[in-house]
Amino acid sequence: MKRFIVPAIAVVLFYLEPVFGLFSPLDINGEYRYLIPRFLIMYLIFISIYYSRNRAMVYALLFGLLYDVFFIDIIGLYSFLYPLICLLASYIVKFIHQNLLVTTIVSLVLVAGLEFALFQFFSFIGLTDISLQAFVSERLIPTMIANSIFLVVLGWAFKYVINARLLQRLNQPN
């Protein structure tokens, strides 16, 4: 049963993202603030760092593809960016000391990078024309605040689950 708990959490997070998306944009004093849930990619970064890079990239490709087809109808965008982020995460932790705080910061920096890459892409194909300044104040900062709260609350749980699975795999080589 424990085998399936890592992908099962990924599925739950995948479905939770749009549910949180229903509450956004928040209307604060007449100004819209977009909170973009990025739970799944942060979880995948954790898998990539603590468990196995290849496993994380396979999940990233799969969920990226589902995301593309179901939500944004541009196939190839998330299915490219998600594995790329997992790959970057695994390269970064080779050079720095690995602990929960560092992993959290790395995940948040990568999520900010993902947001920025998406902003560049959507500006490029002309689906949005907001300025960089508006992007930072309306989207990036609220998104980062919301996601860091999520990660601070649940980051240790991710690590705990992934470590439990890793221990189990080491004990049973099959």
Partner: protein, 295 residues
């Protein structure tokens, strides 16, 4: 970094990038229908999504109920004040409706642009990255939803269907930046003036109504409704209210900023308006009538 960019990896990377660009350009094309694998994925994911979003909506519903319970006293007082006004209005509406049917019988005209069958739907997901203004509904082709149908809430028009699968449909909201998104609208008043809703001003949070005949004067505060002349939308769905009138870039026609009547945030239950009268291609959308010819 010789070991990172070994030959095999470099080739793999290049092939990957080419494949990616090909896929993106394929999906950015104006596609009329989702391909079969896409439809299957959408239906399966949509089914899972509705399992997750329905309990959430139940919970938010409970909070809403508690919230409105707390306001009951104030609201009741306010509503009582308007009750008499409503009774009179109701009588007027009944009178006009019966007169309208009578006159229709006289001229022997049954079809009406205003008539539509509402299909109730629940929003199961909102595009979580929110770059495109899209929501996904739990009703699809088997429930009679077709591309380009109008989506409304109790307050007014919010968007139109852009993609359907057997059990889900994707809706693009009016607040989109998509330049190909048009809705045929009219300014109500003593004289109806027609125009097209084209574009959304992100800073003002208002829609832009263009191509209004400059000979006819329009004023701030007039209501905008769907005209039904775009071919697919029924007539008379409220869109919003004019906040500012100016001339367009070339000075030939007028344009107006329209404050939308409906709220695009926190959508949960919406209505799909299926027009009773025959639909044709027009400004509301394209490639619908062609599909009907083929089938």
């Amino acid at each position: 970094m010789p070991q990172f960019f070994s030959n095999k990896r470099l080739i793999l990377l290049l092939v990957g990038v080419i494949f990616l660009v090909a896929l993106i350009s394929f999906s950015l094309r104006d596609r009329d229908n989702a391909s079969l694998p896409e439809q299957i994925i959408k239906d399966v994911v949509g089914f899972g999504q509705s399992i997750f979003s329905k309990p959430t909506q139940y919970i938010t519903g409970v909070f809403d109920n508690v919230d409105s319970l707390l306001n009951t006293y104030e609201e009741n007082k306010r509503l009582k004040g308007r009750l008499e006004e409503f009774a009179k209005l109701q009588a007027d509406v009944n009178d006009l409706a019966s007169e309208n049917t009578r006159l229709r019988e006289v001229v022997d005209k049954q079809d009406d642009l205003r008539k539509y069958e509402p299909i109730q739907a629940t929003v199961i997901a909102r595009n979580p990255d929110q770059w495109e203004e899209k929501i996904i509904l739990d009703k699809g082709e088997v429930h009679g939803v077709e591309k380009n149908m109008a989506i409304m809430t109790a307050q007014g028009l919010i968007g139109k269907v852009v993609l359907t699968t057997p059990f889900t449909s994707t809706v693009e909201l009016l607040s989109t930046q998509n330049p190909n998104y048009r809705v045929s609208a009219m300014v109500t008043g003593e004289k109806e003036v027609f125009g097209l809703i084209e574009g959304y001003d992100d800073e003002r949070k208002e829609l832009i109504l263009k191509r209004i005949d400059s000979n006819i004067e329009i004023k701030k505060g007039q209501k905008i409704m769907s005209s039904g002349l775009g071919g697919i939308f029924p007539k008379g769905i409220l869109i919003g209210e004019i906040t500012e009138v100016s001339t367009d870039d070339f000075g030939l026609t007028n344009m107006a900023y329209v404050k939308p009547a409906a709220d695009f945030a926190l959508l949960d239950h919406v209505m799909i308006a299926k027009r009773v009268m025959t639909t044709v291609d027009g400004t509301d959308g394209e490639n619908t009538a062609i599909d009907e010819d083929e089938s």
